[in-house]
């Protein structure tokens, strides 16, 4: 009776006595999930020396509803297992019921800290199926918005990571800076989050009047604030003590586990899709790919901080290169007609009606498109059957994959370091569970 009540179901960490041989080695190897285990796994404690506790799903440092089952010996984490699904809302299933124009409203809610990237990858996949070429201004606007979003996303990470490690003032500073960008987003898109701004065929509206001044204001304020963060955190001994040498991972392990983004770059591998497989116009701007050398939490902190500086550099170039022209493709089968035309043209009214009720049809085919989100490779696998709704829409969330490195990075760490490691992965649970 009691056993049944306390059972965690299929996902339970099994008692040691029921875990045999190879499987056990793998679990000890930090559920290393890498078959070739490192030699010299230290002596294994018996069940009664250890304790299995749950962290989450309701825990402030799990960034949402992540639950981590941990086996502890004293304060040392031996094994752990991330359990997710608490935020699963069936977005991929929902995506099959929405037209391509409605699609971004769905995907934008996945990674809610960087919603524009989700819209972007969905739109790029659709456009690749449609085989349409965007006007240059639409692409530059997309780049501008995405880089701003990258800045706000990294700032939120700095804020929450600061709070996880006890630098509570960082929380307030980070969200203060983010608010500037969100105010700009609200001015452009009408919403602070979940914009549905980047759509198949371009963007929803042109940039508003005075946008350049607003962006310049952000670019002026940010470098000073970043220097303040440097003073507050980078050189501070307590901060270094909490982050250096914590959650170390190597390049080989990252590649084996499919881990991308700042975690992969922290190991010294310069892999950034913006440079290595350029999309939009990233091949026309000049920026550096920031890499670390130790693969620890401090490196990842430094990478994210400096990526904001690179984004500032990119945005300055975008401001110089922003052309005049259309903000969406002038293909009447894809783009709704301008509002003014509807009053005077019957054709325009028909097109408007057709696009918003039935949606536009997309040729048969399947594509996989990937962009570099602040967390790593964000991919979209889309299958079209020729109708106006995606037949299959799968989002490859970087958080979902990166989180699988958690047991490996956390093994042998103290429970306080576990908080630092969870934070450094930067999981957004909306994207993990989709």
């Amino acid at each position: 009776m009691t056993v049944a009540e306390t059972s965690e179901g299929d996902q339970e960490l099994l008692p040691k006595s029921r875990t045999a041989g190879v499987e056990y080695l793998r679990e000890v190897g930090a559920v290393l999930r890498i078959p070739h285990l490192p030699e010299g796994i230290e002596e294994v404690p018996t069940d009664h020396d250890t304790m299995i506790i749950n962290m989450g799903p309701q825990h402030p440092s799990t960034h949402g509803v992540l639950r981590v089952m941990m086996e502890l010996q004293g304060e040392t984490v031996l094994r752990c297992k991330p359990v997710m699904g608490y935020l699963h809302t069936g977005m991929e299933k929902t995506g099959e019921e929405l037209t391509y124009l409605q699609g971004p409203t769905n995907t934008t809610r996945m990674d809610y800290i960087s919603p524009l990237f989700n819209e972007l990858v969905f739109s790029l996949a659709t456009e690749k199926l449609l085989d349409i070429e965007l006007p240059p201004r639409a692409t530059w606007i997309r780049m501008l918005m995405c880089e701003l979003n990258r800045m706000s996303s990294q700032v939120v990470w700095l804020a929450t990571n600061g709070m996880d490690l006890g630098a509570v003032s960082m929380m307030i500073y980070g969200f203060r800076e983010r608010e500037m960008i969100l105010a700009f987003f609200e001015k452009v898109t009408g919403l602070r989050m979940n914009h549905n701004y980047i759509r198949p065929g371009g963007v929803a509206v042109d940039l508003p009047e005075g946008w350049r001044d607003d962006v310049l204001k952000i670019l002026e304020v940010f470098p000073q604030r970043l220097d303040e963060y440097d003073t507050l955190l980078t050189g501070q001994p307590i901060w270094q003590e909490r982050t250096q040498g914590v959650g170390v991972i190597t390049t080989e392990e990252c590649l084996a586990l499919g881990v991308t983004g700042p975690i992969l770059r922290s190991t010294g591998m310069p892999w950034d899709l913006r440079r290595d497989q350029p999309y939009l116009y990233y091949d026309q701007v000049d920026f550096d790919v920031i890499v670390g050398s130790y693969g620890d939490t401090f490196d990842r902190y430094a990478i994210r901080l400096n990526e904001i500086r690179e984004s500032i550099k990119i945005i300055h170039q975008i401001l110089d290169k922003m052309p005049q022209g259309d903000y969406r493709v002038q293909d009447k089968k894809v783009t709704p007609p301008p509002r003014a035309r509807i009053d005077e043209s019957m054709e325009a009214l028909i097109h408007h009606f057709k696009i918003f009720t039935e949606g536009f049809r997309v040729p048969e085919g399947e594509v996989y498109v990937a962009v570099e989100s602040p967390r790593g490779e964000l991919g979209c696998y889309m299958v079209s059957d020729g109708s106006s709704k995606p037949y299959r829409m799968h989002i490859r969330g970087p958080s979902f994959v990166n989180l699988q490195a958690l047991p490996h990075m956390i093994r042998g760490a103290l429970i306080a370091d576990a908080v630092a490691v969870i934070s450094t992965i930067d999981p957004i649970m909306g994207e993990v569970d989709r």
Binding site: M84, K128, A256, G258, Y279, E377, G379, R396, F400, Q404
Partner: protein, 170 residues
């Protein structure tokens, strides 16, 4: 717009390690037999495709007559694996046909440990069983959920939401 993926040469799109292949919007796709799937992924691994970026599935129940390269048997399920070679900056996609009667496929966990969660997700959503997977359990849906939601015959919004240990209606 630039091609996000490295464009493979036209002549390459024929046989990849003995398996038929095709270009889909400029992206190289391979269609191995189910029996050759594990070997093919291993050969591609040796070719430099060291990263398994994504593994997911698709249910083609209403499209049993869809277009596939010659020599590929159409089955209801497909498992789609996206591989990446970081050295050459190229991508390749593997699509394996999985029959409805026996929805099983060997796990590529030994080669790409990162697929642990992705294979669990595919099992959870499509009911494809990955043999050799260390811990094949549901990952997103509750453990006691019945059915596999992303199958096309799984009703949309028609299943009453049920939770483990929920109190009876008052």
């Amino acid at each position: 717009m630039d091609e996000p993926d490295g464009q493979p040469a036209e002549d390459e799109a024929e046989l990849v390690h003995g398996a038929p292949s095709a270009l889909s919007r400029g992206q190289l796709v391979v269609f191995p037999e189910r029996a050759d799937y594990l070997d093919l992924v291993g050969l591609l691994y040796d070719d430099g495709y060291r990263v398994c970026v994504d593994l997911t599935g698709a249910d083609y129940q209403p499209y049993m007559e869809r277009e596939l390269p010659a020599g590929v048997t159409r089955e209801r399920f497909e498992v789609v694996v996206n591989l990446l070679a970081t050295d050459t900056r190229r991508r390749i996609r593997v699509r394996v046909q999985v029959p409805e009667a026996d929805p099983a496929l060997p796990s590529i966990f030994q080669l790409h440990p990162g697929t642990e969660a992705m294979e669990r997700e595919t099992y959870d959503m499509f009911g494809v069983v990955f043999t050799g997977h260390p811990d094949l359990s549901r990952i997103l849906m509750p453990d006691d959920w019945e059915g596999h939601p992303l199958r096309k015959d799984f009703g949309f919004g028609r299943i009453p939401v049920q939770f483990k240990g929920a109190p009876p209606a008052r």
